[in-house]
Subunit: 351 residues, 5 copies
Amino acid sequence: MGEPARQRIGLSPGTLLHIGERRLETARLDLIDYGPELFVQQTDCSADECLERCRQPGLHWVDLLGIHDVPLVEKLGRGFGLNSLALEDLLNTEHRPKVENFGDSLLVILKILSLDAAGSRLETEQVSIAVTGNAVLSIQEQPGDVFNGVRERLRSPKGRHRQRGADYLAYSLIDSIVDSYFPVLEQLGEILTDLEEELADRPQRATLQRIHTLKRDLMTVRKAVWPLREVVSSLEREGSELIEERTVPFLRDLYEHLVQIIDTTEIYRDSVSGLLDLYLSSVSQRTNEIMKVLTIMATIFIPLTFLVGVYGMNFDYMPELRWEWGYPALWLLMIACAAGMLAGFRFKKWL
Amino acid sequence: MGEPARQRIGLSPGTLLHIGERRLETARLDLIDYGPELFVQQTDCSADECLERCRQPGLHWVDLLGIHDVPLVEKLGRGFGLNSLALEDLLNTEHRPKVENFGDSLLVILKILSLDAAGSRLETEQVSIAVTGNAVLSIQEQPGDVFNGVRERLRSPKGRHRQRGADYLAYSLIDSIVDSYFPVLEQLGEILTDLEEELADRPQRATLQRIHTLKRDLMTVRKAVWPLREVVSSLEREGSELIEERTVPFLRDLYEHLVQIIDTTEIYRDSVSGLLDLYLSSVSQRTNEIMKVLTIMATIFIPLTFLVGVYGMNFDYMPELRWEWGYPALWLLMIACAAGMLAGFRFKKWL
Amino acid sequence: MGEPARQRIGLSPGTLLHIGERRLETARLDLIDYGPELFVQQTDCSADECLERCRQPGLHWVDLLGIHDVPLVEKLGRGFGLNSLALEDLLNTEHRPKVENFGDSLLVILKILSLDAAGSRLETEQVSIAVTGNAVLSIQEQPGDVFNGVRERLRSPKGRHRQRGADYLAYSLIDSIVDSYFPVLEQLGEILTDLEEELADRPQRATLQRIHTLKRDLMTVRKAVWPLREVVSSLEREGSELIEERTVPFLRDLYEHLVQIIDTTEIYRDSVSGLLDLYLSSVSQRTNEIMKVLTIMATIFIPLTFLVGVYGMNFDYMPELRWEWGYPALWLLMIACAAGMLAGFRFKKWL
Amino acid sequence: MGEPARQRIGLSPGTLLHIGERRLETARLDLIDYGPELFVQQTDCSADECLERCRQPGLHWVDLLGIHDVPLVEKLGRGFGLNSLALEDLLNTEHRPKVENFGDSLLVILKILSLDAAGSRLETEQVSIAVTGNAVLSIQEQPGDVFNGVRERLRSPKGRHRQRGADYLAYSLIDSIVDSYFPVLEQLGEILTDLEEELADRPQRATLQRIHTLKRDLMTVRKAVWPLREVVSSLEREGSELIEERTVPFLRDLYEHLVQIIDTTEIYRDSVSGLLDLYLSSVSQRTNEIMKVLTIMATIFIPLTFLVGVYGMNFDYMPELRWEWGYPALWLLMIACAAGMLAGFRFKKWL
Amino acid sequence: MGEPARQRIGLSPGTLLHIGERRLETARLDLIDYGPELFVQQTDCSADECLERCRQPGLHWVDLLGIHDVPLVEKLGRGFGLNSLALEDLLNTEHRPKVENFGDSLLVILKILSLDAAGSRLETEQVSIAVTGNAVLSIQEQPGDVFNGVRERLRSPKGRHRQRGADYLAYSLIDSIVDSYFPVLEQLGEILTDLEEELADRPQRATLQRIHTLKRDLMTVRKAVWPLREVVSSLEREGSELIEERTVPFLRDLYEHLVQIIDTTEIYRDSVSGLLDLYLSSVSQRTNEIMKVLTIMATIFIPLTFLVGVYGMNFDYMPELRWEWGYPALWLLMIACAAGMLAGFRFKKWL
């Protein structure tokens, strides 16, 4: 499983196929049952067990790590009321963020962003979150720590999570993903500052590649965040029976965070294209300075070399060669010549 | 037939004329009759036969290969309720994708995209799909394999196609064309990655041409996909009596695929214009480096050459030439001079 | 008459003044009376005669060539129900395309585009078309062949024109003008292809000028077509009592043609600005190559020239000059030196 | 009075302060009373007199020259029903064009544009026009001839002005200002054409500065015209009790003139940025040609100079120097060498 | 307190945390009670005291300097009816300007802009203003003089402030901040003019950095002003029970000021990117001129140097060396050669 897009051609719409890289050996299914008085966490459940539990009272969070196990994803998805078109989207890790409303369940697809250790390439991971009246299903491509904070807060009996419904859990999963965009942006901002200093100090060929990479990373952030903003905006505006009234202000807050991320991304994108201009201008300026040095040197010495060449000739009749003061006179002439040149350059403000 | 646009001037609107290249010797007409219990495929029918059959119960798919046979296209088109303006559009292979609603029939014009073997030039082929309550007419410029998957699925008695109406068949024809855009985009993406590596490694004059070609190909994709998005969007929103309620989610899914294609195209277009900047900066940087080498060499050796020229002169009175240590002293002077220059360059960070 | 815009200042709005170049010696007025059974063509009528005839039954097409005869234009215009503001616009040949609805008459102003023989400069001519219930008035700046096709079709007793009203005649006049844009675009497209080949082959200074001219021509097309699209769109959407229901699909078709022209223009504009980048990159690349040749030649020969200069000096004490193998040894040294340089250049991939 | 913006900080909103340059020694107040049968012009009135007269029957035009006399402006403004916020805006000569509706009076702020004699810098002057049911107040910064035409037409007893209300007078004041934009645009267009020719002929450093100035002037036009378009559009659409029905077509005509000015400005702006690219490309091309000359000269003569250097050495044992045909042989070698170089350059198409 | 964004991840939404730099040692709380007959100012109050007073009749302005004291901010905020999401935003000094309506209180977040003494870097400070029916709470990061004018006017018993409600006070706080943007813009405009002169006079490497800094500063202004415009626009349009009818015209005036600031910013941004092009073109032009000098010098002297080299050779048989007029003839030849070169350059318009 995990096939390139071109294998999809000719397949019936709704055929389930994992598109993308397989990032995990085996899928893992965790289940948390919770409520005002209740918190039970269970790892490595089976799909049937999970769906069975979700039919019981209380709230439930089914967390699936590993998207490549298509039958498992399908069973869980169908249990959460998703149709095959939605499952097809969810299995395609290159799908853009979206929300789909099935009346008694809601599917949100979004992206986790992470910079690798060297900070050079931005990676995206797809996360799908399905909500019903009393349960949340989250599907990640690989284990990560982005949901740890939520798990922690669920444990606390006094926390807001325990008092609220499944919609609040789903919101806080999305919120924790959106919060994780900020440090990524900060890192990109640091790379940007680095590049600016590098440009001011000593532009190199590699700087160009780094600018290009940063530009592409910002494009990736944009591709992840713009559609998500629409998703959150439509959730907030249109609402759904699954979203309680008191969750709406949180969605509005989330929306503002996304707008702030978009603003910052746009400013960074603007700065990056400014950097390229700066690089080009800076290289031109340096070429100009190099040319100046060459031209000054050449312009001063080329006529002098010609003159000494003249008196190196072997003609039988060259009266100057016989003069007693010929040699010092030539030196005087050459010094005058060079001084004139230098004065000319100073007049042209090249020196 | 197959005439350039300038021959249209002065013709009455609705005059039928094939505009474009003739890609096939003779047109071919295939017919498939199908239904929940039925599947009959017949090749090389006549137009009258097809239209006669379409009046009988069951569902029908008339597949015409070859658009240059204007009378044949006209007879079929009129049989499917198209007026002469629509036929004029359909025969103009440079027409932009559109949908037209004639009440009891619906016409969709769209494009097939394909990269030639060398991957260097993107070609478009026009496909027109007309739907009535119980029949679909598809008109292609030349045979291709894009509809093979649909034909295959029609054969399977349990498939969704056999249970649904003509609108679903039309949808899946469009869907298979849209699905065929993805591998084209993947190929363009690979060309883009190639170009990036080529630029980083060793930019050449040909690279420029390849960037320009890629840019134009992306423009072609854009020209095909943007209006198609509007087509699908208007089908989904406004609907038609010909489109069953249960087909609408499939149209929404199709719409999302088109949005994803557009997103990717825009990102590629952005990257391509970045590549041009990169190329220009990279060439400037290399010119700068070349100039540096030249300037360093010239600046060091030009004064030295002048000096040796001085002592190659033939003046009768040149005291230095007579000194015993003149020659070694000059060498020392020249070495000091060159070392000073080198130190200067190192100070300027040119070395 | 035909005055520059600055003469308008201080005049009362609605003062009639021909703004633009006078392109014709004397104005000419042609009249066609037609109907299902009738076709009478008469050239060189007087204005009064025309207006008198228009009051009689049947349909009438008054065709005025020459816009500079302001009193004539005014008399005809008033006869077709135009007010002085509209007449002022119509006489200003730099006015942008527009439609104005006076209840019982309708005025459309639009542009004819034509490339001169050398294909280097795009010229615009203003055409105004006024329609009442039973007559059409067309005003051109100079005679042209763009309406010949319409005249031809009017002659044919079975043609659609003879069966329809004045609105259809007005539509087909506009349609024939819009159809005439396509060959102009095709010519511009050919110029674009020429320029691309010229750039790939051998960019010259004149190429730049041609790119700039093409860019301006595309701007002119844009300026003529964008407002016309709005005109046709508002005619189609808002309608008028003067436009029959059955003419509306033709307007929609016209609208689509205009959208296609706009699409093509935008793609050309994009390509043209790509060409400028290409030109700049290409010149930079060539400068880079030239610099490489110069640097290689200079870097190899400058040190050698220095060396031979050394042994051309006339010091009394230069032991090397006395050695028997001095001369061949120097040759060896120089060859080694040059070979080292060449190896260095090959290492830097300059060769 | 006439203070820079930074002196406004900390002042209460509505505090009246003249912001801008003081352009006139003393303010002057003119009054025209007119009606179908009446025309009385009086110069140098006092504010009280003017306001008194405005309360009498007939129509009145109060024309104030000089904006720096804040108490005078305030008294007149209050008399015409303007509040302090509006007066504050009107006194700030950097305020953007706007319209404000106070129920029984209407305030329009707009700009006069003028190029100085050298045609190098565009200047703006602010004009404010307040209308009540029977009077118009116009406030200019300095005397100018832009309203002369209106005054002239008011004098004519048969003119449209005498038959219409104050709204028509206000309209024609605005119209005469908008008409005065056209010659400014024409002058800018001529500068643009000049610059294009200059670029094609012989680009210089000063050309760059002129392009930049033209760009800024176009920005100024844009800043004056865009908001004015909104002003006129809102007057036309929303109307006011002060604007008679029969004035609306004139406003629509005015709106179209503004759209035409905007179109032209945008096309000029586009051309100007094209000029900069053209300049840069042209300079690059010239540098390339200069480099070619240098490289050809250097590449041909550097090896030859090396060769003659070789035979200028003073080694005791140089057999070639003793050969009888050594000298002519060297000449042959050098000519062959130069010819080879030239052939190489011709092959590379540098010659 | 004052933590980077990345420490927020995993925290529950609504957790209060100061994000940003701590700019003050200890927070300070000032209180002004005022009314038509009343004005009492008290510095260094406690939070409880303030809230207690706000419950009494009269109007109250609580001014908090220092945002890092989270419990203090929270207590005051809760007292003014803000929820924890709003408090979270208000504590995040990187939050974008916004307005939030809580029914009986209203929160506006906005930015103070200030250029440091050297005029090189633009700093932003966040200000939050909460309004209830009878009190205003303003929270600044550090003491500043932007509210001094308001304080002054509050003191004056006849001033408009004393007659109006808390909404007018809040408006005038926002207004004084917006007024403070104008001098910042003026300073940026002066920097822009400086840069233009510097470019025209003598472009340097540092100029580039200054252009880049100015560009970023304009970005910062934009980021502060754009959302604020939306804030003011939504306050004006949607209103609130807290905003009296008579305050609305002031909000409209404020809105217009913001639009003017945005216009100016956009024009500056446009000019700045024009400066970069100008810089690049100017450097290219200078390189071109330098190359010309070099090429002219080299082209004239290189052949001459070759010639003198020829007659410096030591061949035994060189007849020219023996001719009596060889030496003057060579001079003539060389002068002719140089003159020819110069004529050629003049022909090419290089001189």
